[in-house]
Symmetry: C2
Subunit: 298 residues, 2 copies
């Protein structure tokens, strides 16, 4: 994208200077990762599937016992309106707000809500043309965690895996769950074409119920491809005919190598490209019909 | 304690008003739990085993690739000097600092360091007299996590387990690891007297290498009790003769009930009290000889 210089921050509905200080050091989002977030795709004035993001967030807030402020949707829309006709990432973060030391939440909870509008992350153009390589993380995803399936602030493990992947010369890391099944990448869901079925790990393998993942599960049958949410091992992934990663900002990125092993012929697969095109059409249809140059797959 | 009203905050060595705003909403400590912390016991001007806390933190920073600022120790000491002759908790937090959206760290890392001096958390007086009850968390601790053994900011699971324990009428939660071995409580290490040996879960069960835990492992042999770091199952814990939890701020708290099952006779055990007394003496010896009324065990 060309409008890459803006970045705007709203705290509890109030616009703040990006370079200002916004938060208390006692905010439990900062001290204990006591909160949740959504990363959303702003497509020229419309957030793709905002209501599904808000529904997932609200479920998470209820699970953590954090009150869901009724203004959440309005605050996102305010930020989006102010951002104007751009393509961007929108991040909505809700924490339990300030608290004293210790895990025990305060009696008087005043959640902190931040909305940031950011340039889309720089995806090297050859990711879509050539696909990316993933490292298999040395640590495991915990499908039995208290907060499995929730998009909490606790991304420390994902960062450690990302750094490990970088050291291994890979663009991302794939987590296995503690049973050895494929789970997801550091912040992307995983799909693999196995025996003619487009397979993705179920939530029971520690996968986040991603919004883009959900869209792909809707689209694939329309493309004539059967889908399944079922556990599969690393050996099945590397033997797959093709594979790809999904997220709101990276969208659909071909996965062509895992560790030393190419997937399929080591090139982005045909179904991957068809899913990427169909997803692009879906975003256009739901958010507007304008040409979306930076989303074009090669 | 009676000096319960103070709370002071230092950001990168600079004293800030506690009620001010201190941090950017783009700080990766806030957005992704990309950082680590230490909670330490300030005993009338001296932090108990500050250097061991700093060593553990430095190890963690190296593991996450966050530069360790050389001023860390000085900044803690500045905050401690300003706090004066009080008993308090000192929290040192180091994050990777501000960053753009996404797990990929910025090229130019400017870590954020916060030091807060806080009143000791209110421990109900009967915790030491009567002991506390723990719930067994429904979710598991992941001993195979990328950051297992590091005191990262990712406490979301601990908070969820704490809330679950509260709903069950318990004061804390015990995590099992994914193999079903006892791991630790939400922010305390766990000890159990099993067959005459004082046992604590090893790091390989997802336990944090706690500073108080380490002190207990030093002290118990002096009290004539053998220790072991070895895995043990929940059945062994509930059949133990006594048990206790340890942390820098709660120190040594008798654990007298797990779920519906009393431990031993359901009262704080003799060894627990002797360990608590010995620990208190150690703190006094290393930090000064003043009488420490609020640490007195009944």
């Amino acid at each position: 994208m060309t409008e890459a210089s803006f970045s705007a921050i709203w705290i509890n509905g109030e616009r703040m200077r990006p370079d200002a200080l916004h938060l208390s050091a006692c905010d439990r989002g900062f001290t204990l990762a006591d909160g949740l977030f959504e990363t959303m795709h702003l497509f020229h004035g419309t957030v793709f599937r905002l209501d599904r993001h808000l529904r997932r967030l609200t479920r998470g807030l209820a699970a953590l016992g954090i009150p869901a402020r009724s203004e959440l949707r309005d605050w996102v829309l305010d930020a989006v309106d102010a951002a104007g006709d751009v393509e961007a990432g929108v991040r909505l973060t809700v924490t339990r707000g300030p608290g004293a030391a210790g895990v025990a939440p305060p009696a008087d909870v005043r959640p902190t809500v931040t909305v940031t509008v950011n340039p889309l992350p720089a995806v090297p153009p050859d990711v879509y043309a050539s696909g990316l390589a993933a490292h298999v993380a040395s640590g495991r995803r915990n499908q039995h965690a208290m907060t499995s399936g929730l998009k909490t602030l606790a991304y420390t493990d994902a960062i450690a895996a990302y750094l490990e992947a970088q050291r291994a010369g890979a663009a991302d890391a794939i987590f296995l769950d503690t049973d050895g099944h494929c789970s997801e990448a550091t912040s992307n869901n995983l799909f693999a074409l196995i025996g003619g079925t487009l397979v993705t790990p179920p939530e029971s393998c520690g996968a986040l119920p991603g919004i883009t993942r959900e869209a792909v599960l809707e689209l694939a049958p329309v493309l004539g491809v059967q889908t399944a949410e079922r556990p599969f091992a690393l050996a099945e992934l590397v033997a797959a005919d093709e594979a790809f990663l999904t997220s709101s900002l990276r969208r659909i990125a071909p996965l062509v190598r895992v560790g030393e092993r190419p997937i399929g012929n080591g090139r982005p697969g045909d179904l991957t490209r068809r899913c990427a095109d169909a997803y692009l059409s879906l975003v256009r249809a739901e958010c507007g019909s304008r040409h979306l140059s930076s989303l074009d797959t090669p």
